[in-house]
């Protein structure tokens, strides 16, 4: 009898612990990823250098990772890898006509020009210069860049441009950080580089006109982007780079919620779903700005994403 009671008690305790762990996981994971630049810090900036870095030499692709094999151990993992690999190979091959059409397109120049234009009106970003150069996405490379900048802060814009897995949109994503030259990291943490004064992921997606979900194939979408020496793709990229720079200027000046709490929609705000950063999945947030058929959406975790047709 006692054995039964002990077993029931242990089971109940286990279930309660599991529920608590689950609750902690769900609430513990939800926190803002955006670090807002506060006003006192902003006023202390005497000089800045903006560095825009493009991760890929050409338009990239993205794939939906296969997960069907999950739960089947090593064999399942191998099957998933093979399926994902096959999708990626297909996407790379089908993207070739778009890349050929864009072979003379200078995404760096488009980005650099847009940043110069949009950051110039920010009076607090004093003596700012903008240059485009490749910066490896490693802590060491970023720390070295900041060390050699000779300015109070470096505004680092690490940009990626790629097609969604269905080729129905081109997504430009930027990880934007404002890094101080003076080290602010905790003692004993020198290897991790300077802690950012501002950090956010900002993305913009332009959808392909004429794309019909579940009907337009990858090959057809590729042709639509590539036609006329990549006319549509060039428009998406030019418009996307301009919008991205405008979003960065907007977001640098925006305050954040107190502490690390989530961003809450104002009572009258419209909810909208956007394509996720780096073309992965979708996310929902509230609209902060809307014009010309495009909406800027703030996600609960702070990221800013834009969605709509081609930028006019």
């Amino acid at each position: 009898m006692n054995v039964h009671r002990n077993f029931r008690s242990a089971t109940r305790a286990g279930a309660t612990s599991l529920a608590l762990v689950f609750l902690q996981m769900t609430t513990g994971c939800a926190h803002a990823k955006r670090v807002a630049l506060d006003e006192p810090q902003r006023n202390q900036i005497g000089s800045a250098r903006t560095v825009a870095s493009l991760s890929g030499q050409e338009l990239g692709v993205s794939v939906v990772m296969s997960t069907g094999g999950a739960g089947f151990g090593l064999i399942g993992a191998l099957v998933d890898s093979a399926v994902t690999n096959s999708r990626a190979k297909a996407a790379e091959a089908v993207a070739a006509p778009i890349r050929d059409a864009l072979v003379d397109y200078d995404a760096g120049a488009a980005l650099g020009g847009a940043l110069k234009k949009e950051l110039a009106p920010l009076a607090w970003l004093k003596k700012n210069t903008v240059d485009v150069r490749r910066v490896a996405d490693t802590k060491e490379a970023v720390a070295e860049l900041v060390k050699q900048s000779g300015t109070d802060v470096v505004v680092l814009v690490q940009t990626d441009h790629r097609l969604t897995p269905a080729f129905d949109a081109i997504v430009i994503t930027a990880k934007v950080s404002v890094l101080p030259r003076a080290p602010t990291q905790a003692a004993g943490d020198e290897g991790s580089g300077p802690a950012p004064l501002y950090l956010n992921t900002i993305s913009t997606a332009a959808t392909l006109p004429g794309f019909v979900e579940a009907r337009t194939t990858l090959e057809q979408a590729s042709q639509l982007w590539a036609d006329g020496r990549g006319r549509t793709a060039r428009r998406a990229l030019d418009g996307g780079m301009a919008e991205l720079a405008s979003m960065i200027a907007f977001d640098l000046a925006e305050h954040g919620p107190a502490g690390a709490s989530l961003y809450e929609a104002p009572p009258d705000a419209r909810q909208a779903t956007v394509i996720g950063a780096y073309g992965n999945g979708t996310a929902t947030g509230f609209v902060v700005r809307e014009a010309n058929g495009r909406a800027w959406v703030r996600l609960p975790t702070g990221e800013l994403s834009a969605i709509g047709g081609l930028v006019p």
Partner: protein, 202 residues
């Protein structure tokens, strides 16, 4: 597992992870096609001098220009690759293009004669990773110059995508080599097709 073994395993894992992200400077010799290994384990013999087939036509390579703005070759899953020797590698590969009907020679100066001259420009050379796949790309623009000096340009894209098993230097360099071969094969076919046109034949 003893504490000593645990520490050793952790150190080995950490070393492997660091190695997987260490920047790699790629040299031309590592990009060149590897010589075939001999069966008895002896040092591989140097490549035999190229012998054009009887009746094969010479094609002159005038120049190879690297139009890339920086030496970066991109990165695969966080591991950056770069090279300042891409033009050396591709020049050597172009010079070794040979088939039963053509062979490419480096032009040493004006007056070499011949029916077709090539001017090559390297537009792209990079590696990238998406999901579990690594992709290498080489894009060359070739000017085909006829004896009357008229030139036509064409862009050739070589690509190789395959599973990224270990993210090793050898794997990624191998993918670049394959992309280069894919690009050169297209160029060889284009040269042969051009030499078959009525104004260059005969």
């Amino acid at each position: 597992m003893s504490a000593r073994r645990r520490v050793l395993s952790a150190a080995l894992c950490a070393a492997a992870l660091v190695a997987c992200r260490t920047p790699v400077e790629v040299v031309a010799s590592s990009l060149a096609a590897p010589p075939a290994a001999s069966d008895d384990g002896a040092e591989p013999a140097p490549p035999a001098p190229r012998k054009p087939a009887p009746g094969a036509q010479p094609v002159w390579l005038e120049s190879v220009e690297d139009r890339r703005t920086d030496p970066s070759l991109g990165d695969v899953h966080g591991r950056p690759f770069s090279s300042t020797q891409v033009s050396q590698w591709l020049e050597r590969e172009l010079e070794s293009l040979v088939s039963p009907t053509i062979y490419v020679m480096k032009a040493t100066g004006p007056g070499a004669g011949g029916k077709l001259w090539l001017r090559a420009r390297i537009l792209k050379a990079y590696v990238s990773g998406v999901g579990v796949t690594k992709t290498a790309t080489v894009v060359l623009e070739i000017d085909f110059v006829a004896p009357d000096g008229s030139a036509t340009s064409r862009v050739f894209r070589g690509q190789h995508a395959s599973m990224n098993w270990w993210n090793t230097e050898g794997e990624v360099i191998g993918a670049l080599r394959e992309a280069g071969s894919n690009c050169l094969e297209q160029i060889r076919l284009a040269i042969e097709a051009r030499l078959r046109t009525p104004d260059l034949r005969g």
